[in-house]
């Protein structure tokens, strides 16, 4: 075989390998989603949304868990978003490349990928242990800590995309700096910032580990954020590993619901961003 033929052979071999591993990646996604649909879809019915999590051996639903997840996520986003947006604003509008803002940027990127379980333990030692009991608030705060780095990052990136001329034009009309930021820069970057919040929400909705140490679980209906609170991920964890069929079936239904919500939120986030860039 000539050297030329060998080079061509190596080329084809590697390119076909690339094609195959891409197919493998797509296959894995398809496998996981098809398992979720085939196992979970049959157990989704009206009672899932209207009844509480059952004791083993009886029928029930996921109402308290769905409610808990929504409430905890809502408060986490409510706490985390303003903090993240302000910090991101500082980095983009005021910080420049000072040592302080470089450090914040660096630490923020590290926190972005930091293990969520460590955040859970942190909030446990900070709130749960002194209080002496698990609570919905602890869960919301743990999630807020996960929301902040995502929002900081996207806010900074999106604000930096706003042209400097826009800021200068507003400033030339006599607008103070904060008015420029609040009414001009935020407006121009709005859809990008919403994307960040949506991505952060998607990230925490299916997150389980921090809740094990903070909100834990509750068999019953509870809207008291000071008490342990039912939530989808921990219900999935406990029910999936239980020996009872009813519980396992409910776990699959919950898994399908939570995955669909997360994926839809992700796709929505991309759509928001795409819509803004084409405008």
């Amino acid at each position: 075989m000539s050297k030329y033929q060998i080079r061509k052979l190596v080329n084809y071999f590697n390119l076909i390998a690339s094609l195959l591993v891409t197919a493998l990646g797509l296959f894995m996604l398809a496998w996981i989603l098809s398992v979720l649909f085939s196992k979970g879809f049959q157990y989704i019915n009206w009672s899932v949304f209207t009844q509480m999590t059952p004791p083993p051996g009886s029928n029930g639903g996921l109402l308290n868990a769905i409610f808990g997840t929504l409430v905890i996520t809502f408060f986490a986003v409510l706490i985390g978003t303003p903090i993240g947006i302000m910090a991101g604003t500082y980095l983009s509008e005021f910080g420049g490349n000072s040592r302080f803002s470089s450090t914040v940027r660096f630490i923020n990127d590290v926190l972005l990928s930091a293990p969520s379980i460590v955040v859970g333990v942190f909030v446990y030692t900070l709130i749960v242990k002194p209080q002496g009991h698990f609570s919905g608030w602890a869960g919301a705060i743990a999630f807020a800590i996960l929301v902040i780095p995502v929002v900081v990052r996207t806010t900074e990136d999106m604000l930096k995309l706003v042209p400097v001329q826009l800021r200068e034009a507003a400033a030339a009309l006599g607008a103070p700096r904060y008015t420029v930021t609040l009414t001009i820069v935020y407006k121009a970057a709005l859809s990008g910032m919403i994307t960040g919040v949506l991505l952060a929400t998607a990230r925490i909705m299916g997150e389980t580990a921090p809740l094990l140490f903070t909100a834990l679980n509750n068999q019953f209906w509870s809207s008291n954020m000071n008490q342990p609170m039912a939530n989808m991920p921990v219900v999935i964890y406990q029910y999936a590993l239980s020996p009872y069929d009813d519980w396992q079936n409910l776990a699959w239904a919950a898994a399908l619901l939570i995955t669909l919500s997360v994926l839809i939120m992700n796709i929505m986030a991309r759509y928001t961003l795409k819509g803004s860039s084409s405008r």
Partner: protein, 326 residues
């Protein structure tokens, strides 16, 4: 006239003042929340260190290299979970990096334009699937399939090889260090692939086309032009994936088997720092609790270092690109 002028002056003065004051308040608030990011990091470090202190005081350095984890007799050593964490992540990297590389090549160089976006999004959706879903799928579908079809094949071939043979031994139950490594690989592929893809896309077209014009094959362009050009970014992406793999909890807790014995065989069940915490934390107290928090601190420091290295490589590349632009 005078009244108008004076009111105007007043208004200007007023808005100017409120402008200065508003600016101060606004900037101050922004600064405060930016500083909060740092406070969170130091808060995590300090609080975990405080809670873990009884363990370090009690066991000293022995905590890091002792392998017994005996809840009944209050003897704790972190060796098994630390080794488990490192080995599962290493397996994930060994499998995940070539696959991510292939995916990045396919999306940037091979796929027709209409296919790039959907394939890219589909791969990224792998990162959006919650960790616990990987756990359920891994435990109920992937692990049994792996134990029945792939594992016997590997044991009968690689298991007989000298030196590395001892790693491919273990009971055919499916939950093992190796299975955890594979599931982790699938979970980190989207992160590594998306960094690699971004890097490959910014390689100047002129550079690639010169190589093609010299008669290079596509693979040679990838291996000899694109990869050297994006080396720092690719290493950064791999480190980012490694950081994710080290701290992954729920998926691993489902498929790793949660056994605190040290085995050379990768098909034996094992434990990682994150999995042991998910399993034991809610029943722990006293020294047991303190040891679990010590594990969390070790995990946080390891991931912090790995992610810092990742960031350092990515920053270096960013600076180099900014430099070449000007």
């Amino acid at each position: 006239m005078t009244t108008l002028e004076s009111t105007h002056a007043k208004v200007v003065k007023k808005t100017k003042n409120s402008g200065v004051l508003g600016d101060r308040i606004f900037k101050g608030t922004a600064f405060f929340f930016a500083a909060m990011v740092l406070v969170v990091l130091f808060g995590i470090m300090l609080l975990l260190l405080k809670e873990a202190w009884p363990t370090f005081a009690h066991f000293g350095f022995g905590f890091f290299y002792h392998s017994e984890w005996d809840v009944v007799n209050n003897k704790f050593g972190a060796l098994v979970p630390i080794v488990g964490t490192l080995v599962t992540s290493l397996i994930a990297i060994i499998i995940g990096v070539p696959v991510s590389f292939g995916i990045a090549i396919f999306i940037t160089l091979m796929a027709p334009t209409w296919m790039k976006r959907p394939v890219g999004i589909a791969i990224e959706l792998l990162a959006a699937v919650p960790s616990i879903i990987y756990g359920m799928w891994g435990l109920f579908y992937f692990a049994p399939w792996f134990a029945n079809s792939i594992q016997p094949m590997m044991t009968s071939t690689l298991g007989n090889a000298p030196i590395i043979g001892q790693f491919f031994q273990g009971p055919p139950i499916g939950v093992s260090i190796f299975t955890a490594g594979i599931v982790l690989a699938i979970m980190i592929i989207p992160f590594i692939a998306s960094v690699m893809r971004d890097m490959f896309e910014v390689v100047p077209t002129a550079l690639k086309e010169s190589a093609y014009a010299m008669g290079s094959t596509t693979w040679e362009v990838v291996w000899k032009v694109i990869l050297p050009y994006t080396k720092a970014g690719v290493i950064g992406g791999i480190m980012l994936g490694l950081g994710r793999a080290l701290g992954e909890t729920m998926a691993v807790a489902f498929v790793v088997g949660n056994s605190l014995e040290l085995n050379t065989g990768l098909f034996y069940p094992g434990a990682t720092i994150a999995s042991i915490m998910a399993n034991e934390f809610n029943e722990a107290s006293g020294l047991h609790m303190s040891s679990l928090i010590a594990l969390a601190l070790i995990l946080f420091i390891i991931t912090f270092l790995v992610l810092s290295i990742a960031k350092w490589f990515l920053l270096r590349l960013e600076k180099a690109q900014e430099g070449s632009k000007t």
